[in-house]
């Protein structure tokens, strides 16, 4: 059961990663009318249409991660501590902290992406989008490394 939840958590995280990366690039570096390159097409998406999906995916991923974390604490963490994977523990602590901060800014992010924004709110939503993108990328990479830790670097 835990493995199934972990796999679903990973799949949701992949979808979230794609959505937030699309939105971040579309927000920070909007493409011209007819993008020709792959990178141009990647960022030529209507960024506002990703907001609701990102919120649902973030909440789903956080919820599944919170469930998996219970099993991690009981079954995996003692092994990591025994094997002295202190850096991995530190990175995981940062992941849980960043995810919590992300949960807190999610309502503000949602409001910023609702409807047309004035210049100040455009500035706020750009920063919140980048912040969430950083949190999602950090969480994805740390989760991936921890998932594979027994084979990682060996």
């Amino acid at each position: 059961m835990t493995t199934a939840i972990l796999i679903v958590h990973g799949l949701v995280a992949v979808a979230l990663l794609g959505a937030i990366t699309h939105q971040s690039l579309a927000t920070c570096a909007p493409s011209n009318a007819k993008p020709s390159s792959f990178f141009g097409r990647f960022r030529a998406v209507p960024a506002e249409r990703f907001a609701n999906a990102i919120i649902v995916l973030y909440l789903t991923s956080a919820l599944l991660g919170a469930v998996v974390y219970l099993y991690f604490k009981m079954d995996i963490q003692p092994d990591l501590e025994r094997d002295r994977h202190w850096h991995a523990m530190g990175f995981l602590d940062l992941k849980e902290d960043f995810v919590a901060v992300g949960l807190g800014v999610l309502p503000a992010y949602w409001v910023c992406w609702r409807g047309p924004a004035d210049s100040q709110h455009k500035h706020i939503r750009t920063i919140l989008t980048i912040l969430l993108a950083f949190i999602v990328w950090w969480s994805f990479l740390v989760g991936h490394v921890l998932n594979d830790i027994r084979g990682f670097g060996s």
């Binding site: 009981m74 902290d97 901060v101 800014v105 920063i127």
Partner: protein, 119 residues
Amino acid sequence: MSASPVRRFVFAFGAAFALFYAITRARGLALFTVYPAQGIVLLGTHRSREFADPVLDFLAPEMYWYGWTASAAVGALVVGVVAALLPERLSWVWAWCVWTVPPMAMLACVYLTMPWFRL
């Protein structure tokens, strides 16, 4: 710039949540403590070593993250409601805090995590 009460609430909530999370993390002020191995939840912050020998700590690992998040959410909820009730002319404070406080709270969390990297 006009800011609706909802906008003031969410901006204040986002900033206060990050701030309170960093404070609860630093001071260990979890609203509740989860013991997954025993399947119990205790109100407040508890440590296994307060009840058992520290060498047996691994038998009852405690989890604070849920409690820290809940503490921060409760505190942020109060600040958000107050911000929504305050005059609109103060809305620039919340609009400024919502993008400055969370990154600073994340940096505080990095500082609090440093002991792991010194082991």
